[in-house]
Amino acid sequence: MADLSVELAGWKLSYPTMTCSGTCGYAFEYADFMDLSKLGAFVTKSITREERPGNEPSRIVETRAGMLNAIGLANVGLDRFLAEKVPLLKKMPCPVAVNVAGHSFEDYVQTCAAMNGLSCLSAVELNVSCPNVKDGLTFGTHPGRLKELTAQVKKVLPDKKLIVKLSPNVEDITATARAAVEGGADILSLVNTFTAMAVDIHRRRPRLANVTGGLSGPAIKPIAVHLVSRVYRGVAKNAGVPIIGMGGIQYWQDAVEFILAGASAVAVGTALFVDPAAPVRICEGLAQYLDKYKIGRLTDLVGALELPGDEPRKTPYA
């Protein structure tokens, strides 16, 4: 049986599949459907300093091979997270990362500082796809600002791995990836959802109350694979920073694409809504795939995509 374990900047995971923030709740929501000990890691919903009720409904709409969401970071806020969710997370049978969002530098720093002391957490993932309330500019789309945010947060998280989740809504994702790495990110995760819109042609209005939302699901997978490949080759490989690939992963074949493109681990989001056991099933498929091609370790597959101009491999299986 092939070795599926991975190590992300020293963070050891028994399996390469994680959950995407915002699609799996706070802790045990899917426990009836999946053996959580078979998850590489669990990533919580975004936590903000203050509790957030979220956007007006309607918050989701299904589109072809995908869905748009505009939840608005609805979450219990830091205080209730510490009081109500951390006791649950302490019982999780797999490594846990908390996702943190904010609307100012202080928001992020204060929330992350509170996370550093929690022994139930291995890592903190930064959701940088939020606008800064001060000037409305998104943290994750301006390399200078992203580097500054990453650096500030890194200082208060000496005991946790820092994952920066990159937004695809940028001109050049290698620029933001580089900024996050320079700011001190241990791990990059990509990609977050694509800003998109769906229209009710009879009412001549957007289908989402928020007008725009984030597109996810199989529809975005080819773009996400491309962006992982670009970040891997342009930034991450040389910097030695591992990538968690995400964006439309539903089956093990999708995961293989991301891993070949350069992801060291993968995360499943929208597909959890369809099949809450998807991460475990994907692992089973990955194991069979590796066995079939006599690849001993999953890590041997990371970035093994052969592009034109690359040194040809001796065998297709190596």
């Binding site: 709740g25 899917y30 009836d32 918050r59 989701i60 939840i71």
Partner: protein, 323 residues
């Protein structure tokens, strides 16, 4: 927390029958299923269960071969997310459990369901959501369903068999009523609100019904809420321990809740919302609910908060909802 009260299973289509112009009855058979209650729902995957990720023996890398051109993203016009349906009934048989659904064809998901043949397999996840609280033992249960909101009333009727109950069901017109109407029992008067044993799904449980159609093509002519009001006015003395249960279009349920509140009758409302997960993770099916104490979180300082139709509902107290 880890008791498996919910499950993901493959069901077999036992019956798929068109009930009226737009509604279908789908009976799904499973070997076993967790305990279910009226008001609860299941999430149905409206696409073939054949997995696209199975490893086949012909999975071989062919250096001379062409690259695979087909991928999941080429799936075309097919539902990605599951669709939530309230249970219209449940039956224990020698072979297992029958889950009864009644759905209206409104899009790609329900269209796919309506085309299923007996014997085909369907992915089912559940049971999800809370339940209707049954009335006090000698209290009267008043069931009010509108259109595609009628199905959960049928399951509730099943559970209420032998108790004091009356059902009110309404639709635009006769052939949008997803029920078995017994001709012989119609009063023939478009202004009558006398409950009759003229709907097979209710009468088999001994529950009389008042049917209304907006155009008078069957039963009372007018809205089901008008029929309800008229009935309550005529039977006010019998309503002391009564409880009203309703599901249907938003405007209808709002009116039912108002009618109940004005008469001091308890009212339970089953809402419908678009949702992805059905388990509280996607946070999309929010509904505004009154908060008795604004100081208490969530949303301290406000006299309302969002609740999730999937896990806090779908059944809410009519008096709690902010319409």
């Amino acid at each position: 927390m880890n008791q498996k009260q919910r499950q993901q299973v493959q069901a077999t289509v036992l019956e798929n029958r068109q009930l009226c112009r737009e509604h279908y009855r789908l009976v799904l058979g499973v070997a076993d299923f967790a305990q279910t209650e009226p008001g609860q729902f299941i999430q149905v995957s409206c696409r073939p269960v054949e997995r696209e990720d199975e490893i086949s023996d012909d999975l071989q890398w062919d250096q001379q071969g062409r690259p695979e051109v087909c991928g999941e993203e080429l799936a075309g016009r097919m539902a990605l997310l599951r669709r939530p349906f309230s249970l219209a009934g449940r039956k224990q048989t020698a072979d297992g459990v029958e889950l009864h659904l009644i759905h209206r064809v409104v899009g790609v998901g329900t269209q796919w369901l309506s085309d299923l043949a007996v014997g085909e397999r369907v992915g089912v996840l559940g049971p999800l959501g809370n339940r209707f609280e049954l009335p006090r033992p000698d209290g009267m249960a008043i069931l009010v369903g509108g259109g595609v909101g009628i199905p959960p009333m049928l399951y509730l009727a099943q559970r209420l068999a032998g108790r004091k109950a009356v059902a009110f069901c309404g639709a635009l017109t006769r052939d949008l009523l997803p029920m078995t109407l017994l001709e012989g029992g119609t009063a023939g008067r478009v202004d009558a609100v006398e409950p009759l044993l003229n709907v097979e799904e209710f009468s088999r449980h001994g529950i009389p019904a008042v049917i209304s159609t907006d155009d008078g093509s069957f039963g009372f002519r007018g809205f089901v809420t008008q029929a309800l009001e008229r009935y309550l006015d005529a039977n006010a003395q019998a309503m002391a321990e009564a409880a009203i249960y309703t599901c249907g279009p938003e405007g209808m349920m709002k009116r039912v809740a108002e009618v109940a509140a004005s008469r001091g009758i308890e009212c339970q409302v089953a809402v419908e919302r678009a949702m992805a997960c059905g388990m509280g993770t996607c946070q999309s099916c929010v509904i505004r609910v009154r908060k008795p104490d604004p100081a208490v979180p969530p949303m301290a300082g406000k006299d309302w908060c969002y609740r999730l139709a999937c896990t806090d509902g779908p059944v809410f107290k009519g008096s709690d909802l902010l319409w």
